[in-house]
């Protein structure tokens, strides 16, 4: 399973290293069972393996959480930001800002709604339409309370590249702006990323949105 992931070899190696404590936990548990069933069981040995098991378990569970320590901004003063120095330069293609690493423009759980600058929250698509995509740091934010996430969101605005458009439902539009916000009205499905299309938002825009999110 690990080898089928589309990541580099080094990353696969470090992933398997991360998963190793999990395997060790299972092994330790099995050893413990065998110890308990032996002819003359010793509480000391059983406990010894138990302690090893818990230690390995703690490491296995907590290592993914410790990942932000590797970011430079973790050690700096002030509010923690995501390290943008490593992100691929998306600004050339996508406009004003880049997608920070570790954040996903959630292609899988994107909530897209049409957004009318004149009439805020209006779902109807007007001339200056925007696609609003939720951008969530899935690795650190609680998923239970979406309204709470709002304050922690980073605004993220992408302009659709200028140029003639094959299928432009929003004629005369300057381009689709993608911005992050945690308010949402339209939900995307995970499998095929085919959402309930907001009125005025065409398939092409969705494809574009998808390409943006996959480029991260």
């Amino acid at each position: 399973m690990l080898w089928n992931l589309e990541v580099s070899r080094g990353r696969k190696f470090s992933l398997s290293l991360l998963l190793f404590p999990g395997v060790f936990v299972i092994a330790a548990a099995v050893v413990r069972v065998v110890m308990s069933l032996q002819a003359s069981p010793s509480a000391v040995n059983i406990n010894r393996w138990g302690v090893r098991e818990t230690l390995a378990g703690i490491i296995a569970v907590n290592i993914p959480i410790l990942r932000p320590m590797l970011r430079r901004s973790f050690w700096r003063r002030g509010a923690m930001t995501t390290d943008r120095s490593k992100t691929p330069d998306a600004s050339a293609t996508f406009g004003s800002r880049r997608t920070p690493r570790g954040w996903t423009l959630s292609s899988n759980s994107a909530h897209v709604r049409s957004y009318d600058p004149e009439r805020q929250g209006n779902v109807a698509f007007r001339d200056k339409s925007r696609v609003v995509i939720e951008m969530t740091d899935h690795t650190s934010e609680c998923s239970s309370n979406p309204s709470q996430r709002r304050s922690d969101s980073e605004e993220f605005i992408i302009q659709r590249p200028q140029g003639p458009s094959r299928h432009d439902p929003i004629a005369g539009n300057n381009g689709v702006l993608v911005e992050t916000t945690f308010g949402n009205t339209v939900e995307y499905q995970h499998e095929d990323f085919r959402p309930v299309v907001p009125r005025g938002l065409g398939q092409e825009d969705l494809n574009y949105v998808r390409s943006v999110s996959h480029n991260n």
């Binding site: 399973m1 690990l2 992931l5 589309e6 990541v7 990353r11 470090s14 992933l15 998963l19 999990g22 395997v23 936990v25 299972i26 548990a29 413990r32 069972v33 110890m35 308990s36 069981p41 010793s42 509480a43 000391v44 059983i46 406990n47 010894r48 138990g50 302690v51 090893r52 098991e53 818990t54 230690l55 378990g57 703690i58 490491i59 569970v61 907590n62 993914p64 959480i65 410790l66 990942r67 932000p68 320590m69 973790f74 923690m80 570790g102 996903t104 959630s106 899988n108 759980s109 899935h138 690795t139 650190s140 934010e141 609680c142 998923s143 239970s144 922690d152 995970h190 499998e191 991260n216």
Partner: protein
Amino acid sequence: MLTLSTPGAAVLLTRLAVRARTVGFRNFCGDDYITVLVLLCYIGDAVTVDRTYFLGTNVDFSQEQLKAMTPKEVHNIVIGSKLELLAWYSYTLLIWALKCCMLFFFGRLTSGLSIQTYVRWLTVGIVASYIAVFLTISCGCFPIQKNWQVIPDPGFQCTVSSGQFKSPQCNADTDPVQTTDFVRDSAYQHLY
């Protein structure tokens, strides 16, 4: 054994510090609170295991050895056996709390994805397995006083380790599921 415990506690505290730094105390999620529980269980486990090492338990000695002992030594073994039983509870609670941490983490990773239903089923399985384990420890030896009975021999069911061999087994059952889930989760790619 205490030397083994220090790095574990260090990892847990570091984790809490990292979370406080990245999301702040106010945005702590379920797994962060459970980490505190894990830490408490871990300390409890370390202390009880350390004590039983010095006191001895009813697992370790044959009846002939026990009969040769002074009442003071036997009394120590009784206390050691009680602590060993306590260690079983804290140990299993610790392991299952860790699983819970993982569930919260997976839940966060998969928020909005269809795999999240998988995480929910996993939650059901883990809660069920914990109940099973808890009952195994509590009811494996009846009446419960026999758990720390030294003389006469309380029997195989009640020498503390043997009656509860099912709990690590349950543990070994659910862990691979979680580990594979870890890999299967395509969202994991976003992490690294």
